[in-house]
Symmetry: C2
Subunit: 265 residues, 2 copies
């Protein structure tokens, strides 16, 4: 069977529950990974997810900020929670579906100054990546593993609107790109979106709220990723990867667009 999987930084799941339902219906998503749900487990709109056909839930919520969740049409089995956040934020949630281990992350943004000594938020971001890389180094590369979420790094020259300018801005600094590359190499992960739309095609999944018209200002970044392990990559359905940019133009949207892929499992 084919599993359609989406990752989406929703920026408040309660505020945008109708958009989630619309997206799930229009896209035919079977497994939805959410970041920035901004609510506790208690406050999560369980009924709405049942109504949209994704009744199987793993919720990693907390009060107000951050928060991640997995909602699925198929039953979810357990997977190890990696607990990578040293600040205790709800930034990791995991589940196993059809033998595929899914790790959903909301990786810290890292503040403005790209200096670990001067900016604790940047240090926290790097620390999160280092812990994740250390974990991946200990794992069986043949396992069917998927990492996805808001990674808050746009790695490639064509993942940012202006490479030279962005090299000094957190999300595209050389040290971040090296850190992300180290993680990717540690697990020999495939970046399913970039593989489907090779360089030099410009791609983005996030556009700031600050622009009047996000398409006109055209300053997007590709921060949201779906990565597959060598054991899982053969299951990726060729030509199925998508960034759902039109969703960013809906009324009162999240600043992130959903990103999806189909897996033959």
């Amino acid at each position: 069977m084919t599993l359609r999987l989406t990752t989406w930084n929703i920026n408040s799941v309660r505020l945008r529950i109708d958009q989630v339902a619309r997206y799930v219906s229009e896209s035919g998503t079977d497994v939805l990974l959410l970041q920035e749900i901004k609510c506790t487990d208690d406050q999560f709109p369980v009924r709405a997810f049942e109504d949209m056909g994704l009744p199987h839930l793993k919720i990693g919520g907390q009060k107000g900020w951050h928060g991640v969740a997995i909602a699925s049409r198929l039953p979810l089995e357990e997977a190890p929670n990696l607990g990578l956040c040293r600040e205790g934020h709800a930034r990791c949630v995991s589940a196993t579906v059809k033998g595929v281990e899914i790790q959903n992350f909301y990786i810290p943004a890292g503040g403005d100054l790209p200096d670990r000594a001067l900016n604790p938020k940047f240090d926290h971001k790097m620390d999160f990546y280092e812990r994740l890389t250390a974990h991946i180094e200990r794992r069986d590369p043949d396992a069917r593993l998927l990492l996805a979420g808001d990674f808050n790094i746009a790695p490639g020259e064509f993942d940012v609107w202006n490479h030279r300018y962005m090299l000094k801005i957190v999300s595209h600094t050389p040290v971040e790109i090296e850190t992300l590359t180290r993680l990717q190499q540690a697990g020999r992960f495939s970046d399913v979106i970039r593989d489907a739309f090779p360089d030099p095609e410009k791609l983005a999944s996030w556009w700031s709220y600050r622009a009047q018209d996000f398409r006109k200002s055209n300053r997007g970044l590709r921060l949201d990723h779906i990565w597959t392990s060598p054991g899982l990559t053969p299951a990726v359905v060729p030509g199925s990867a998508r960034i759902h940019e039109p969703v960013r133009a809906w009324e009162r949207p999240s600043d992130h667009a959903p990103v999806s892929v189909d897996l033959d499992v």
Copy 2:
């Protein structure tokens, strides 16, 4: 001609501008006195008032809190602003329509403790009433004068849901009732709502947001008043006074209902 006049504590005129338009249209109001507009003069939705046929405006706004306004179908002439608020809040606005001087007040609520020495908010409320009474004592009783607004006092036994209980609660304490009575006697004002619905009929114009169902809990207070001077009282159209309680049951309502009367001017 007959002038239909309404006073309404709107609790944010911007948030409830559609309800204002609906009320004005359904009630046929010609002169609308608003309290708690919660915006500056700049932020006041002038166009919406033009569209609802009340283009003549006197706005006493301020940032965020309080704020009063008069909106009229007929042109407004000047009237003295009484400037009764020692704290500089926007709580008084006035205008003259068809020779009737209208004074619209949002009188301080007064906090929880009914003690002038211990509670500066209560002192402020009493001070406001004393200044207003002192002003009225200096005035010609034959003038056509109307006082209206949110007075934040429910004077009579049948203006509260439980007289004995409420005697200890700010809005119905003996010292407040005496203070209000002193003002009323100073100007020999008629209370047009109570005159139209004499004791022992229970009346209310405000119900707390805290109750689930304001009608079921039935703990209303009559805080909103329209008073006419001896020179104006003969103009009150008999049987025209109304408390528009159904408005309190609209979607996301103000906690106050509109109160209206017709004047033959």
